[in-house]
């Protein structure tokens, strides 16, 4: 059964853990998490006591001001960061879309990049071959697929990244602010695919500053503030098919 369970998760970024010969720099406050300590032992409390549970079919929207901890939370869910405290239990195959450029090589063609991305996500060669045409078709890149990645626009890169990440039906899909670059028609297409995915009893976690996007995609909304959960609400469900205007 696909599920996510976080119990009292906290995450601390230590700023001067490295041994260095230079004097530690002084950082000043601003938006974001809480900066604590001083000199060599500064740290940022990016997540603090975060607990929630998601089940199959849930679509969670993560909102909050800059530096609230959204990206950090997604990276904890993906397993890039080990939490400093608390526990994370995840059932299901996870795929993630953070920065659209991650894992793409500028010099390689789109096609080659799909292969590389697939290998990195642990797909077999047959799986990659089977999905190749689907991915190309969904991205609508046409002949551009055989040009080097550096010749792509931001939106084209986003199309390729999204098509590849969702091609193999991940059970859990984590997304961070990716959709902005795609044009309106692709955003609708992407939204339909996310609906399909959630209907196949998957889980989607999406961090975004776009209230409209969150409302049209998500069924739950988690508001973070300085690393703490401010509220966790269940949104009125908008059924697939009735595509909301973005």
């Amino acid at each position: 059964m696909v599920s996510i369970k976080l119990d009292n998760v906290s995450l601390v970024y230590k700023l001067h853990d490295k041994l260095t010969l230079s004097a530690p720099d002084r950082r000043v406050g601003g938006p974001g998490g809480r900066i604590e300590g001083s000199g060599r032992k500064q740290f940022v409390q990016a997540l603090d006591g975060v607990s929630f549970e998601l089940r199959a079919g849930d679509r969670l929207g993560l909102v909050g001001p800059n530096g609230a901890g959204k990206t950090t939370l997604l990276k904890v869910l993906y397993g890039i960061y080990e939490p400093s405290g608390g526990s994370v239990a995840i059932e299901g195959k996870v795929d993630a879309l953070f920065n659209i450029n991650i894992g793409f090589r500028r010099e390689a063609t789109g096609r080659r990049n799909i292969v590389l991305r697939g290998l990195i996500s642990g797909w077999t060669e047959t799986e990659i071959e089977e999905k190749m045409e689907d991915i190309i078709a969904f991205s609508e890149l046409g002949d551009f697929i055989d040009l080097p990645f550096k010749a792509y626009s931001q939106g084209m890169a986003a199309r390729l990244a999204f098509s590849a990440a969702t091609a193999l039906d991940p059970e859990i899909l984590l997304m961070d602010e990716w959709i902005g670059a795609g044009d309106a028609s692709f955003q609708e297409k992407a939204k339909r695919r996310m609906d399909e995915l959630a209907e196949k009893a998957g889980i989607i976690v999406l961090a975004s500053h776009s209230e409209a996007l969150i409302q049209s995609v998500c069924t739950k909304k988690l508001t973070l503030k300085s690393g703490r959960i401010e509220s966790l609400t269940t949104e009125p469900v908008k059924r697939a098919g009735k595509v909301a205007k973005l």
């Binding site: 853990d17 490295k18 890039i80 080990e82 450029n101 894992g103 010099e107 290998l119 990195i120």
Partner: protein, 263 residues
């Protein structure tokens, strides 16, 4: 300690299952480094031959020592350049892979193997040049060459842990990138790459006997230049490799989850 070792073996076995990833990435790296050049990776061969040629031209002793010198330098430079490249590329390994480390959950050993394979491919071009030089300089081809080959395999065996240790060093202690770079540049003069130890000069003698890299060079070189099995050099190299593996496993096991916070 046991937990650390388990963690390390877990990381390594996951990386081995993902071997297609590092094989593909290493090939991409080689391709990218030489994209849009006419000779492509053949430049590696040209560079190597030019270096050996220069050293032979400048340092070749007169008289009867002359015959073996080309072989001596050819093998010395082959192994030294390989080790030097591995070490100097490793100290910044995790920093270079930052976007992958912060964006994917690939085991760290994938990056280690990616660099190892890339260095091995690059050294492969030099090996071709080296063999040609050996044959032209009249080194007798025979059984001892197999010992040399065994020596090369031993160096391959030591490569992944060497990369791991230097990569962690660079991650925890960023200044080491510059320190290691400088030491390696000086190190060539304290390693019998192009000078021969006659046992007369005390500095030379110390540099020969107390430098672990001497033995990495000699396991490949002595079988060909002297036609003998260098038992002592093999013993030292095997011990050094095992110690490096032990340190690498502990570092990997204990600190692999910390790396993402350090880069």
């Amino acid at each position: 300690m046991i937990a650390a070792l388990n963690g390390a073996f877990d990381d390594i076995s996951k990386a081995m299952k993902l071997h297609r990833v590092w094989v593909a990435l290493a090939h991409e790296d080689i391709g990218d480094q030489h994209r849009r050049t006419t000779l492509g990776p053949l430049w590696l061969l040209v560079n190597y031959v030019a270096f050996v040629g220069t050293f032979v031209f400048v340092f070749q002793p007169a008289g009867k020592g002359a015959a073996g010198y080309a072989a001596y330098v050819a093998i010395g430079l082959l192994v030294w350049f390989y080790l030097m490249e591995v070490m100097s590329m490793s100290v910044a390994l995790f920093q270079r892979e930052e976007s992958f480390i912060e964006g994917t959950t690939l085991p760290l050993f994938v990056y280690v193997m990616r660099l190892a394979l890339q260095s091995i491919i690059r050294a492969g071009y030099a090996i071709v040049g080296c063999v040609v030089i050996l044959i032209f300089s009249g080194s007798p081809v025979g059984m001892p060459w197999l010992w040399s080959l065994a020596g090369l395999f031993l160096i391959l065996f030591a490569t992944p842990p060497l990369i791991t240790v230097f990569a962690f060093l660079g991650a925890f202690f960023p200044d080491s990138q510059f320190i290691v770079g400088n030491l390696l540049r000086v190190g060539m003069f304290f390693t019998p790459v192009f000078w021969m130890n006659k046992g007369q000069d005390p500095v030379q003698k110390y540099a020969y006997e107390w430098n672990p890299f001497t033995y990495f060079l000699e396991i490949v070189r002595l079988p060909i230049t002297n036609g003998e099995f260098p038992a002592h050099a093999f013993t030292v190299t095997i011990m050094a490799s095992l110690v490096t593996w032990a340190i690498a496993l502990l570092l990997l096991g204990r600190y692999r989850k910390q790396v993402v916070f350090l880069i």
